[in-house]
């Protein structure tokens, strides 16, 4: 499979140039169940080929948590004051290997009824890390423990550090929608892009010696179909569309209501995936009752991810919720609730079952 050798017949936009329009996503974290359906949808669609066993182009991390790969947001990359920040290159164990399981021992061998299925790394070692390793551990102490889920995928940045880092121009930004793709024919597997991506959303295929990543399901988009992660999400938390379209939900949420924020804007890569932050849950008091004067989750946890702007976003969300509770209309809440789920899909609402196979690339 060559996932991204030529996504478009049009010439790719020059690095740093502005595409004709920008494909964007808004993920409402208040709806995320942490079920990993998006992860599995992506895995099924794209990463079953040679060397892709341990690839999760889309992954849902628990926050607070260390992420995938381990300490994902602490590994450098991106920019600081406009200058590239050197990044680290995680090992296979830090990413999390595709573990082996000895099914025979459990189901047929002497271990039947006596042991359980133990994952093993490639050399037989017990795993010490993996994708979603610290799921649901979160922070705080009972009864005021807390966590939320953060789906992660390629952010299609407007200032893509991966693209700039590649000395071979193997990474390009499509002129028609701003999607970032890797030309696997050009890629020589140097992995500067992996180092430079501050979200660590680029994987390395060791068998083929090429970098690979989320491609925003561009063949589906070209057929008017939403990406697999979006279609398969039971929580219906993804809004997709063109950020430049003032009538689109993504534009309204990002620019008009300013409740959808970039992740780690301090990385200076200008991502085009945005998140509606989770509302702060009330703390429990000593008697087990809600204490609305305190939150279970420190605001600082959200500020670390979404910057100081998160306070205003949360205030807007809270105010609009109260309007609805008072029986008043709220366009913002209508968009976020999306009673007709196809409204989430913007111009990509074609049913994939109705797409002729020939339309797929």
């Amino acid at each position: 499979m060559s996932t991204a050798s030529s996504g478009s017949t049009e010439a790719p936009a020059a690095p740093g140039s502005r595409p004709k329009q920008q494909f964007a996503m808004v993920l409402d974290l208040n709806k995320c169940l942490g079920c990993q359906c998006c992860t599995v949808a992506c895995k099924t669609q794209w990463t079953s080929g040679p060397g892709m066993d341990a690839m999760w182009w889309n992954i849902v991390s628990t926050i607070p948590g260390r992420g995938t790969p381990r300490d994902a947001f602490e590994l450098g990359g991106g920019y600081r004051n406009g200058s590239p920040v050197p990044g680290e290159l995680p090992s296979g164990r830090e990413w999390g290997e595709a573990w082996e399981f000895d099914y025979e021992q459990v189901f047929d061998g002497e271990g039947y009824g006596k042991t359980f299925l133990r994952p093993k790394e490639h050399d037989g070692a017990e795993p010490g890390w993996g994708p979603n390793w610290d799921e649901d551990q979160g922070g705080g102490s009972y009864p005021n423990s807390y966590f939320f889920y953060l789906p992660l995928l390629c952010m299609n940045c407007s200032q893509p550090a991966c693209l700039e880092a590649c000395p071979r121009d193997s990474i390009y930004r499509r002129d028609e929608d701003g999607i970032i793709l890797i030309d696997e024919e050009r890629c020589h597997g140097y992995r500067f892009c992996v180092e430079a991506c501050p979200y660590k959303r680029i994987y390395f295929n060791k068998e083929r010696s090429v970098a690979q990543k989320c491609i925003s399901c561009y063949p589906r988009l070209e057929a008017g179909v939403a990406p697999a992660c979006v279609r398969q999400c039971p929580g219906r938390l993804h809004h997709i569309g063109y950020l430049d379209d003032p009538d689109s939900a993504v534009h309204r949420l990002v620019h008009t209501f300013q409740v959808a924020l970039p992740l780690h804007a301090d990385f200076e890569v200008m991502p085009n995936v945005f998140y509606v932050p989770p509302l702060l849950p009330d703390a429990f008091d000593e008697d087990g009752r809600f204490d609305p004067s305190r939150s279970r989750m420190p605001l600082e946890d959200l500020e670390r991810l979404f910057g100081p702007e998160v306070q205003a976003a949360l205030a807007t969300l809270q105010a609009e919720r109260e309007r609805v509770a008072a029986g008043e209309p709220s366009e913002l809440m209508d968009i976020l609730i999306a009673r007709n789920w196809r409204d989430l899909l913007g111009p990509f609402d074609v049913d994939p079952a109705r797409v002729e196979p020939a339309r797929h690339r």
């Binding site: 200058s83 590239p84 920040v85 050197p86 990044g87 290159l89 995680p90 090992s91 296979g92 990413w95 550090a161 700039e164 880092a165 590649c166 000395p167 071979r168 121009d169 020589h188 597997g189 140097y190 992995r191 500067f192 180092e195 430079a196 390395f204 060791k206 010696s209």
Partner: protein, 221 residues
């Protein structure tokens, strides 16, 4: 053992070998001792020549690996040119064993026309360079061609072959290729050549390497 000259610029005298039709690939073959070796000084690629601001920033304060020299010998055998490169590699990386691993590698470069091309920029649009690239592990070797920094293209199929061994802290790599009619490596010619070594233990790859900073001369019999 033939005497070796320690200098940054030296002619490499290719010997002639009367062997069978098989490519001459064994790095440990005694025939290598019948030709003089040229010991060539290597320098790290200047940072400002790397075509990415990220790479320049990331490597500004990283230690550079330094195999400070490479020993090169050359043999012509029945229309096949074999080059043996030997260099110290006390911490070899013999394969792409992990996602953060970079195998050791070496390459020989020459003007595509066998006459002239800018070495510092890996050729140019009008004067390309060609080369033979080996890296430890199952991938390659690759015949390559470039028309400037960051433009190296690998040939999809090429008769280039390689054999390598690591022994006593050093790599010995033989690169061997039949010489086509009209090739730069015609009989009696003196061809500019350059050499590069990548140290995997220092995560060297792409333009981050040690190389002969100027063309050397390969004298063909």
């Amino acid at each position: 053992m033939s005497p070796l000259a320690a200098t940054s610029k030296l002619a490499i005298e290719a010997g002639v070998l009367d062997v069978g039709s098989e490519p001459f690939l064994d790095p440990g073959a005694p025939e290598w001792e019948t030709v003089p070796g040229a010991r060539l000084a290597l320098e790290p690629t200047p940072l400002d020549r790397l075509p990415s601001a990220y790479v320049q920033a990331a490597w500004a304060n990283r230690p550079r690996a330094n195999p400070r020299e490479v020993e090169v010998r050359a043999l012509m055998a029945r229309g096949t040119l074999s080059l043996r490169l030997c260099w110290a590699a006390p911490r070899p990386v013999p394969a792409l064993s992990d996602l953060d691993a970079f195998p050791d590698a070496c390459a020989v470069l020459f003007p595509a026309d066998g006459v002239s091309a800018p070495l510092a920029t890996m050729g140019s649009r009008r004067r390309p360079v060609a080369g033979w690239h080996w890296q430890a592990g199952p991938l390659g070797p690759f015949a390559v061609r470039a028309r400037g920094l960051g433009t190296v293209e690998r040939a999809k199929a090429d008769p280039l072959r390689a054999q390598a061994r690591h022994e006593a802290g050093s790599w010995s790599v033989v690169l061997s290729r039949p010489i086509d009619p009209g090739s730069p490596f015609g009989a009696g010619r003196n061809v500019p050549v350059a050499f590069a070594i990548w140290c995997g233990a220092a995560r060297e790859r792409a333009g981050i390497k040690s190389h002969t900073p100027s063309w050397q001369e390969l004298r063909l019999p």
